[in-house]
């Protein structure tokens, strides 16, 4: 009941500040850049003057799976940045402006407050992701060839876990950091550190969430879910739950007026 009140307020707020419009638009844009630009690469090269006489330049034939992988790469850099910048003030902003004082002197459960924010951000991000990947899938199928709908659903689900982890990390830092900019910095630093660790200790961290895109690609290639993908999904879910619980604990501990 109270949770729904908090959740609805977030949804309405994101509607009034137009996040429900521009976040999906950005995701759609980011997701269709790769299928379209790769398909039209020969024409693009021609229109900017073409290849020099006699030069042989083979443009590799891309498979649908490769195009999807490129799109996921696009979303993992710019898309993640958009998510972090959009949600860096979720709680820190309310703390900074002081409006949080009026909310938390009401008998509001801290758990509800955090999870409602988290869920509202997720519903926005997942909507954007579903629209973006569906658009990407449409262009990929039209321009590059077959990719079954079930594959699209799998991509959305597994890649969605990575995006969910990003949102959860941002909420985690929001629970105790007061400055939105610092929240963004810490979130980016955390994701970069995770990526670095995964690269350096690749052999031991096969199931690191940063490998989700790679495992999705492998599964698309052999046309069935790999054990690695499923294991990575579980590891990611475990991390999401840990960060969320951590956020609730730290938020409770932090005195609000300091």
């Amino acid at each position: 009941m109270q949770w729904m009140t908090l959740f609805k307020k977030e949804i309405i707020e994101n509607w009034r500040n137009k996040k429900w419009i521009w976040v999906p638009l950005i995701f759609i844009l980011l997701a269709i850049i790769d299928p379209i630009s790769n398909y039209y690469m020969p024409q693009i090269i021609d229109s900017i003057g073409g290849m020099p006489e006699g030069a042989v330049f083979e443009i590799p034939e891309l498979s649908s799976a490769e195009v999807i992988l490129m799109t996921l790469g696009q979303l993992s850099s710019l898309g993640v940045l958009v998510i972090i910048l959009m949600s860096m003030g979720a709680i820190a902003g309310e703390r900074k402006s002081g409006v949080i004082e009026l909310i938390l002197v009401k008998p509001v459960s801290y758990q509800h407050y955090i999870t409602a924010k988290w869920a509202a951000l997720l519903s926005l991000v997942w909507t954007a992701l579903i629209l973006g990947l569906t658009a990407c899938w449409y262009y990929t199928v039209t321009l590059f060839g077959e990719l079954p709908v079930i594959s699209l659903l799998q991509i959305i689900f597994f890649y969605g876990l990575w995006i969910t982890l990003v949102v959860t990390i941002v909420i985690f830092y929001n629970s105790f950091v007061k400055t939105p900019g610092l929240v963004a910095f810490l979130s980016i630093a955390t994701i970069m550190a995770m990526s670095l660790l995964t690269q350096v200790f690749g052999r031991f961290l096969e199931w690191s969430p940063n490998n989700l895109s790679g495992h999705i690609f492998e599964s698309l290639m052999i046309d069935q879910l790999t054990g690695d993908l499923i294991a990575t999904a579980f590891v990611t879910m475990g991390l999401i739950i840990s960060f969320l619980i951590g956020a609730i604990i730290l938020f409770r501990r932090k005195s609000l007026a300091e």
């Binding site: 109270q2 307020k9 009026l102 002197v105 008998p107 005195s255």
Partner: protein
Amino acid sequence: MALLSVTNLSKKYDSNFAVKNVSFEFQPGKCIALIGPNGAGKTTILHILAGLLRPTSGNVKMSEINGNSDIRSFIGYLPQYPVFYTWMTGSEFLIYSGQLAHLSKKEAMARANELLERVGIADAGNKPIAKYSGGMKQRLGIAQAIIHNPKLLILDEPVSSLDPIGRREVLTLMEELKNEMTILFSTHILTDADEISDALLLLHQGEIVEAGSINILREKYQTATIELSFSHNTRFYQDKILQLSSVDNGYTEHDSIHVSASDISLAREEILKAAADEKWPITSFTLHRASLEDMFMKAVKK
């Protein structure tokens, strides 16, 4: 039974005490003013009572609370500078606050309308809060604080930032609310405290230096003085007055003599008698009652 009792409350930042060993309690139905200069720890105490800050030591008990119910359900709080979601309308914010305090949507809506009317911003109920003036925000702030009919209403400097008209309106509103709930408010403006509160807590450097009902405190700090002026020979008459047995002390400032005495009515009698007998050239004679300010200065100096 006391509505609220606070025992040995302290709040320490690094090695400084913002609040030090504060204890007090008060009965339901009173209006209590927390008075002190800026930085005395007023806001810190109110933050602790409202559950926004954890004390370093000590505890707060409310008689209404049984078992594990949330103390915040019984408290309404208005911060010194209330900030709202400016994209909401006043009415939306009130409904939202009401629902957070576990009112149903219907109850919250009814209560929001009633309160908008009551605090005098019914016309602006459907305007976004971004367009509200300072006074309107303060009134909306009071409305959100009482939306769930709290037993204790905590107001942090409710009138300090308002213009004279807004100030008067808020004071009138507080006067009305006194009949429905216990009010604890902080202020550094002593006349406001004098006007509407039943009891005072005088705070200085994080400690309570004096507490009690206004009348009792007045008696305790009875510092009534007599101020006299003479057309000439002020010095000469000052010496004469100081010789009277009932007068404790006296000094001259701006050509008038200020006389203090433990029994001020006796002193008045003696002075007036001497003046009549000896035909003193008195041009003015005033009896000053202790103001809250004098009381405060005296309590702080102690």
